[in-house]
C-alpha cells in the first residue's frame, strides 16, 4: 500500500478550478482534482455527472473552458488527441484503441517502432515486449493477434503499452465494466503493482464495492459539480450513494402490484440453446415484470435475441400463449405480439441521422399507409404527437436529428417506437442505461403502468436496484445459463449477487 497520507507527497497531476461547456451546455463547474504518485484515485458519480469529461480534460482529449492543469509542479496545457502520452499521461478508453489485426508486439510499439538501418527490428521489439509482459505478469504471447485476445487481455495489452511509454499517470474509464470477477482481480493486482512503482492511477467506476476496495481517495461528482473528495476508508455505500444522487430516492420505484398467480402464461421458454446461452428455461405470466439479472456478458441479451429470432437457436422450444413458435426474424415475433427493445440505442435501436417521425414508425410503417403503398405522413405525425405526450419526449422540434437528443429522450423515443407495435410481451434490455435519474423514474413508472395494463415485461438490467425495485420475479444468469430464480422476499441484492457470482452454485432448480 502506498502512503498517500501526509502533505509531503506533491500531486503529480492536478486540475484547478476546471470548467467545461460544450456550446452553451455546461458540463463541469470549477472542479478541483489531483492525484499523487502511487495513489489510486477513483471518480464516481451518476451518468452525466461529468466524469468522462473530467478525465478527457486530464488527458488532453478535451481542453477546459477555464481553469488550469498542473503536471509535475508546472502549469501546462496538454496537447490534444492523445499526444499527452508522450508526457506520461495515458488514458485507456472504454473502447480500446487497439488495431485488431496487429500483433501484441506491434500494438505495444505502434508509432515508435524500433528500427535498425531503417528497417523494423522485429526481433528486438518482440523480446522487449516479452520481457515487458513478463514483468507485468501478463500471460499473452507477443505474437498473438489482438483480435484473438479476450477483453481482459486486450486491457492488459493497453496497460503494457502505457507502461512501455513510461506512463506516470494512468487513467482508466470503467476498466472493470467488461471484466469477469476473476479478470477484475487480476486487473487489481496489476494496478497495485503499478502503484508500487509510483504510477498514479485515476479510474472511473460504477461499482462501489471495488472503489472502496481499491482506491485510496474517492472524488464524487454530481451534475458537473465537485461534491467531495474523501479518503476511501471514510466512505460507506450509503454515504457514497447519498453524495452521488443528492436526494431522497424512496419513491424512485412505483409501488409493486401483487402478482396474480392465476394469470395465464404468455411466454414459455424451455431448454433454449443458442449462441451464448445453454439450456435456458423460464416462463412469463400476463401482467408480470420478470427481471433478468446477471453480469455483463452472462447471456441475458443473447436470450432475448434468440427468442425474437435475431439469432438461430440450436435447441429448445418457445411457446407464446400456448402455441409453439419459431421466429426467423423480428417481423414474425412482432406479429405474435412480442417486441424486443435493444440496449444499444444508437447502434441498433435508432437511426441517429434521421428525425423523430421516421424513427418512431420504422417498426410499424404499415399502419401509416394509404392505398396500401403510400406513406401517410399526416398519420405518422399524429402518432408522433401521441407518443410525445404519452412518453414525455422532449425535442426542440420534430425535425431535429435523433442523434442530437439526450440519452433519456432517445430512450423514451425508442420506448414509443416499440409500443407503436402494440406488443403484448415486451423485452426491455437495459431500458435506463446512461440516462439521468429523473428520466429513469419516469421510465420505471411507465414500465409499472404497462404491466398494470396487462402487458407482460421482461426487464434485463445490470442495475440491481432497478431489477429489485420493479420485478415480481427475478431470473439470474451466469455464463450463459440460468442459475437461480427469486421470488417475493428472496429478491434481495445479496441473493442476486451470490447467484451471479456463482457463490450460490446450485443449478436451476
Amino acid at each position: 500500500m502506498s502512503t498517500s497520507d501526509g502533505p509531503a507527497i506533491r500531486p503529480i497531476l492536478s486540475a484547478n478550478r476546471i470548467s467545461k461547456s460544450f456550446g452553451e451546455i455546461p458540463v463541469l463547474f470549477s472542479v478541483d482534482f489531483d492525484v499523487r504518485p502511487g495513489e489510486v484515485h477513483a471518480i464516481i458519480g451518476e451518468n452525466g455527472a461529468g466524469k468522462s469529461t473530467l478525465i478527457k480534460i486530464l488527458s488532453g482529449f478535451e481542453q477546459p473552458t477555464s481553469g488550469t492543469i498542473t503536471y509535475d509542479g508546472k502549469a501546462v496545457s496538454l496537447p490534444p488527441n492523445g499526444e499527452a502520452e508522450g508526457m506520461g499521461i495515458v488514458l485507456i478508453h472504454q473502447e480500446f484503441n487497439l488495431a485488431e489485426h496487429l500483433t501484441v508486439t506491434d500494438s505495444i510499439f505502434l508509432g515508435r517502432e524500433i528500427r535498425s538501418f531503417g528497417f523494423l527490428d522485429v526481433r528486438r521489439m518482440r523480446d522487449e515486449a516479452k520481457s515487458l509482459l513478463d514483468t507485468l505478469h501478463v500471460h499473452v504471447a507477443p505474437n498473438a493477434r489482438i483480435d484473438t485476445l479476450s477483453v481482459a487481455d486486450k486491457q492488459m495489452v493497453e496497460i503494457a503499452k502505457a507502461i512501455s511509454r513510461d506512463a506516470r499517470v494512468l487513467i482508466m474509464d470503467e476498466p472493470t465494466a467488461v471484466l469477469s470477477v476473476g479478470e477484475t482481480q487480476t486487473l487489481f493486482e496489476q494496478i497495485r503493482r503499478l502503484t508500487a512503482r509510483g504510477v498514479a492511477i485515476i479510474f472511473i467506476s460504477h461499482k462501489l464495492d471495488e472503489v472502496m476496495h481499491l482506491a485510496d481517495r474517492v472524488t464524487v461528482l454530481r451534475d458537473g459539480q465537485l461534491i467531495a473528495t474523501v479518503e476511501a476508508s471514510a466512505l460507506t455505500p450509503d454515504s457514497a450513494a447519498q453524495m452521488m444522487v443528492g436526494r431522497e430516492l424512496s419513491n424512485l420505484y412505483p409501488p409493486k402490484r401483487e402478482p396474480d398467480v392465476d394469470a395465464p402464461r404468455v411466454l414459455a421458454v424451455r431448454n433454449l440453446t443458442a449462441p451464448g446461452i445453454t439450456d435456458v428455461s423460464f416462463e412469463l405470466r400476463k401482467g408480470e415484470i420478470l427481471g433478468f439479472a446477471g453480469l455483463v456478458g452472462s447471456g441475458r441479451t443473447a436470450v432475448a435475441e434468440a427468442v425474437v429470432g435475431l439469432t438461430y437457436r440450436s435447441a429448445g422450444e418457445i411457446e407464446v400463449n400456448g402455441r409453439p413458435v419459431h421466429f426467423a426474424n423480428v417481423a414474425q415475433a412482432l406479429k405474435a405480439g412480442l417486441a424486443y427493445m435493444t440496449k444499444d440505442r444508437k447502434g441498433k435501436g435508432l437511426l441517429v441521422n434521421m428525425g423523430l417521425r421516421p424513427n418512431l414508425t420504422l417498426l410499424t410503417l404499415e399502419h401509416h399507409l394509404r392505398a396500401g403503398v403510400f406513406v401517410d405522413t399526416a398519420s405518422e405525425t399524429k402518432a408522433l404527437d401521441r407518443a410525445v405526450r404519452r412518453f414525455d419526449i422532449r425535442a426542440r422540434d420534430a425535425s431535429v436529428k435523433v442523434g442530437q437528443l439526450s440519452g433519456g429522450n432517445q430512450q423514451k423515443l425508442m420506448l414509443g417506437k416499440t409500443m407503436e407495435s402494440e406488443p403484448e410481451i415486451i423485452i426491455m434490455d437495459e431500458p435506463t442505461r446512461g440516462i439521468d435519474v429523473g428520466t429513469k423514474q419516469q421510465i420505471y413508472h411507465i414500465i409499472a403502468a404497462l404491466a398494470a395494463e396487462g402487458k407482460s415485461i421482461i426487464l434485463i438490467s445490470s442495475e440491481l436496484q432497478e431489477v429489485i425495485g420493479l420485478s415480481h420475479r427475478v431470473v439470474v444468469m451466469r455464463l450463459g445459463r440460468i442459475v437461480g430464480e427469486l421470488e417475493g422476499d428472496e429478491i434481495t441484492e445479496e441473493q442476486i449477487v451470490r447467484h451471479q457470482m456463482g457463490i450460490q452454485g446450485k443449478a436451476a432448480a
Binding site: G23, N329, L351, V373
Partner: protein
C-alpha cells in the same frame, strides 16, 4: 475521432444544409448562364430537348443507382450490363425477324427480353451481395468484367448491328415524339416521377434509407434487409434494361465500347444530386439534376474551343470527387 460534437456546430450547419439542398440547382443555373454566353442557340428548345434526351440513358440508370446507393450499396456493372443487354436485344430481334417479320412483334419481344435480362443481371448482383455476403463493390466489379467480356464475345470482337428493317420499326421509340415531346424524355420523366414517389412516399423508400443509415437498426426494426437490398439491385438491373431498350433504336448497334464508363457518369450524377455515398439519404430529383449537369458540361465543352472536349470524362471524374469532398465537410457528426 475526437468527440467534440456540440461546439459551434449549430449555426454553421444550418447554412450548409440549405446550400447542400440547393447546390445542384445553383450549379445547373450557372452552367445554363455559361452556355448561353458561349452560344446563342444554347438555350433553344431544340438544344435543351436534345440534351435531356441524350441524358435519358444515364438518367434512367442513375435513378436506379440512387436506390442502390441510398441503401448503402454500389453497382459498378451498369455500363457493361447496358452494353450486354443492348447486344442481346439486337441478337434476339435479328433472330426473330425471319420468322415474325420486322414489325413490332419481333421488336416487342426484344424489348421485353431486354428488360428481363437487365432485371436478371441485377438479381444476380443482388443475390451475391445478400445471400453470398460479398461486398457490393467486389460483386459488381466482377460482373462489370463479365458483362463487358460477354458483349465482346457476342459481337465476336466486332459490332452487332440491328436488322435494317427492324430498325425502321424500332427507331421511333427514340426519335419519335408524343404530344411534341421526344419519347425518351417522356420515359425518363415518367421513371423519375415514379421513383421520386417511391423514394419519399413508400415503405420501400423508407426502408432503403433506414438500411443505408444503419443496417443493424433496420434488422432490429423488423425490416427484411436482404430482401430490400435484393430489390434495389433488381430495380437497378431493370432500369439498365430500359436504358438499353432506348439505346438500341438510337444507335442500332452494340459493341465492346458501348456504354463505357456509364457507371462513372451514373454514380457521379447521384452524388452531385446530393445522395449520400455512404447511404441513408437519397433524392431522385437531385440525381435528375445531376445527370443534366453532366450532359450540359459535355455540351458546353463542344460549344467552346478553349478546352478539348476529349477531357469531358476528366471533368466528370473530378466532379464526383469534389462532390464527395463537399458531402464530407457537410457531415459534422459521425
Amino acid at each position: 475521432m475526437t468527440t467534440t460534437a456540440g461546439e459551434t456546430v449549430q449555426p454553421a450547419r444550418r447554412v450548409r444544409i440549405r446550400l447542400g439542398a440547393l447546390g445542384p440547382l445553383v450549379a445547373l443555373l450557372l452552367l445554363m448562364v455559361l452556355g448561353a454566353i458561349l452560344n446563342d442557340h444554347f438555350l433553344s428548345v431544340t438544344n435543351m430537348a436534345n440534351i435531356v434526351a441524350r441524358a435519358s440513358f444515364i438518367g434512367i440508370i442513375a435513378i436506379g443507382a440512387t436506390f442502390v446507393i441510398t441503401s448503402g450499396g454500389i453497382d459498378l456493372s451498369v455500363g457493361s450490363m447496358s452494353a450486354f443487354t443492348a447486344g442481346m436485344i439486337i441478337i434476339i430481334v435479328n433472330s426473330l425477324v425471319p420468322s415474325l417479320g420486322p414489325g413490332w412483334g419481333a421488336v416487342g419481344i426484344g424489348i421485353l427480353a431486354g428488360l428481363a435480362i437487365g432485371a436478371l443481371g441485377g438479381a444476380a448482383n443482388g443475390i451475391l451481395v445478400t445471400a453470398g455476403r460479398i461486398e457490393p463493390f467486389i460483386v459488381t466489379l466482377g460482373s462489370l468484367g463479365i458483362f463487358r467480356a460477354l458483349i465482346t464475345f457476342l459481337a465476336n470482337g466486332g459490332t452487332l448491328n440491328l436488322n435494317f428493317q427492324a430498325s425502321d420499326t424500332y427507331s421511333p421509340l427514340y426519335s419519335g415524339n408524343l404530344l411534341w415531346i421526344p419519347v425518351p424524355i417522356i420515359i425518363f420523366a415518367g421513371v423519375a416521377i415514379v421513383a421520386e414517389i417511391a423514394m419519399r412516399r413508400t415503405t420501400f423508400g423508407r426502408h432503403i434509407a433506414a438500411i443505408g443509415s444503419n443496417e443493424q437498426v433496420a434488422r432490429y426494426s423488423a425490416i427484411k434487409v436482404d430482401r430490400v437490398r435484393l430489390m434495389t439491385y433488381m430495380l437497378q438491373g431493370l432500369l439498365v434494361g430500359l436504358a438499353a431498350v432506348l439505346y438500341v433504336p438510337k444507335f442500332g448497334s452494340a459493341n465492346s465500347s458501348t456504354a463505357v464508363l456509364w457507371e462513372l457518369q451514373a454514380i457521379a450524377a447521384v452524388i452531385i444530386g446530393g445522395t449520400t455515398l455512404r447511404g441513408g439519404f437519397g433524392r431522385i430529383w437531385g440525381t435528375v439534376v445531376g445527370v443534366i449537369i453532366l450532359e450540359l458540361i459535355g455540351n458546353i465543352l463542344n460549344l467552346q474551343s478553349f478546352i478539348s472536349p476529349y477531357l469531358n470524362q476528366a471533368f466528370q471524374g473530378a466532379i464526383i470527387i469534389i462532390a464527395v469532398l463537399l458531402q464530407r465537410s457537410r457531415k459534422t457528426t459521425t
